[in-house]
Amino acid sequence: MRFALRLILPRIVLAALTLAAISVIIFTLVELLPGDAATRVLGRNATAENVEVWRKRFNLDRPPVTRYLLWARDFARGDWGVSLVSAQVASAGNPGGKTMRPVADLVLPRLKNTLILTLYVMAISIPASLFLGIVTAVFRERRFATWLSGLVLFGVSMPDYVIGVLMLLVFTVSLGWFPALALIDQATSVAEMVHMLTMPAVTLAIAVTGVSVRMMQGSLLQVLDSDYVRFATLKGLSKTRTLLVHALPNALGPAIRVTVLSLVWLIGGVVYVEVIFTFPGLGMLLLNSLKLLDTPVILAGTMLLSAFLILANLAADILAAVLNPKLRKQ
């Protein structure tokens, strides 16, 4: 237990520090976007007195450092502010009629959708990369394994947005099997959701699987070339037994690490895929908010993505340490 703490605690502290540093970078960048929150809400023809009210509201009358600290405090507490676009509507004309939308109300449903898509991608990519990784490593001398490896490499190299557009061309335009839009909402049933999400999920899975297969293959090849596997073979154990009992458990640590890290790859790809298939996820929300300069939404969304990246890296690090038999024995 003490060992586990000594192993994990510093990593958690480092991850927290990283997140803090990243929040400073992101806050600074977003502050540099043209205009400020008050003028964005009120538009050009605002009265000076009105502007003053909104400047106070967004703490624009205080120095940037204070503003950052106030924002960070509120953000950590779960108060992510209000969407400026909704404030625009509320400030124009009837303040009573429209209410301002908290950022969390905008971001969380989108985050949920993106997570659903991510889970679907992993349901495809994890079994696929385990299978392909094992097959290409075990049968590495056979011709078909070489072809499979080549195919995998092809999948890694293809840009995800090109894969997505080509999928759209084949399966929607030519064959008509899947819908072009993946506009899911609360009313969408599970069956419909699977139908709508298959193309975006497969697009992402192709890219992600490629990466993890290659790492999986690498770690398994290393194990297969090790002395204890050779010894097991010389002892006369069957090929299957050697593979399942001796080789696989040792290659599993890296494999799990790879799987967690492939989540990181998803973050980039998910934005294009959401655009191509018009999927109401976090990536789309961020793109739209950036066009509208809705800074509180941009801040919250980017922070969530960064936190997700850091958590995935942290989990991969901890798993690697915990699953490494050499470290465990100390």
């Binding site: 990243i22 092809f154 840009p159 557009v165 061309l169 980039g268 950036l290 969304g301 960064s306």
Partner: protein, 274 residues
């Protein structure tokens, strides 16, 4: 090069064609890529228009040919800049191995934890999305990945005898870094350069696809894919031409790098910006 696979040669060939198109395309493209109504709008591929025509009747093949230089040259500049800066920093960190190295590696970790696509989009919104800004921003992110790879390659070189000797001989740190260490990590740097070029093409295409970077009517492939997306069922060739061009360039760069690093006895480090 003797034990290279046929794939490597095919990919090298594809790359050579891309470079030739980028250099000479403007002289032999059959139509003016900006001229509207070179043919009827939405004309499917034919002998007159190999890749068909787009919504404004512009020749898609000529646009793809012209577009090559808008894709390849900025990518080469970004990856070249990243390779130069990254290897300089990487070698210095490995050679100095002091607090600067520790700090440097923390910076690398930090930058690799940023969701780069979104951050780049924010930066482009702040500074205005033009080609120069795009090249610099992408080069910035790639530099740190190069630093990581080159530093670890250089670490195994700095302990060699000839480096120690050079240091004892009284050579300056500058001279040791660039006359003793650099030649020994040159192959790593070159592989990094080709690998990053592929990702730069990928990334710049993505930025144009998302409506940043290139602006209409530039025949940039990512932008063309995005423009064609809206009418994909009416004129799939509008997407197909630039998509195949982009895919063949990125895949060829990827497989070429793979073959190259195998020949040079390196295991390529595939790390992409997120």
């Amino acid at each position: 090069m003797a034990n290279q696979t046929p794939t490597f040669f095919i990919m090298t060939f594809v790359l050579v064609i891309h470079v030739i198109v980028a250099l000479t395309g403007v002289w032999w493209a059959p139509y003016d890529p900006f001229a509207m109504l070179s043919g009827k709008p939405f004309d499917p591929p034919s002998w007159a228009h190999w890749f068909g025509t787009d919504n404004l009747g512009r020749d898609v093949f000529s646009r793809v040919v012209y577009g090559e230089r808008f894709v390849l040259f900025p990518a080469l500049m970004a990856s070249g800049l990243a390779a130069v800066l990254g290897s300089a920093i990487g070698i210095i960190l490995a050679y100095k191995r002091s607090w600067a190295d520790l700090m440097g590696m923390r910076v690398v970790d930090l930058i690799l934890c940023l969701p780069s696509l979104i951050v780049i989009l924010i930066v482009l919104s702040v500074l205005g999305s033009n080609t120069v800004v795009m090249i610099l921003v992408i080069a910035f992110f790639f530099t740190w990945i190069v630093v990581q790879t080159v530093r670890s390659a250089a670490l195994s070189v700095v302990t060699e005898d000839f480096v120690t000797k050079a240091t004892l001989r009284g050579e300056s740190a500058w001279s040791v870094a660039f006359r003793e260490i650099l030649p020994n990590v040159a192959s790593t740097v070159f592989v990094e350069f080709t690998l990053r070029t592929g990702y730069a093409v990928f990334f710049m295409g993505a930025l144009s696809f998302l409506g940043y970077a290139a602006k209409p009517p530039t025949p940039e492939w990512g932008l063309m894919i995005n423009e064609g997306r809206a009418v994909i069922s009416a004129a799939p060739w509008m997407v197909l031409g630039p998509a195949l061009a982009l895919a063949s360039l990125v895949v060829a760069l990827g497989l070429f790098t793979e073959g190259l690093s195998e020949t040079l006895g390196l295991t390529s480090q595939r790390q992409r910006a997120k």
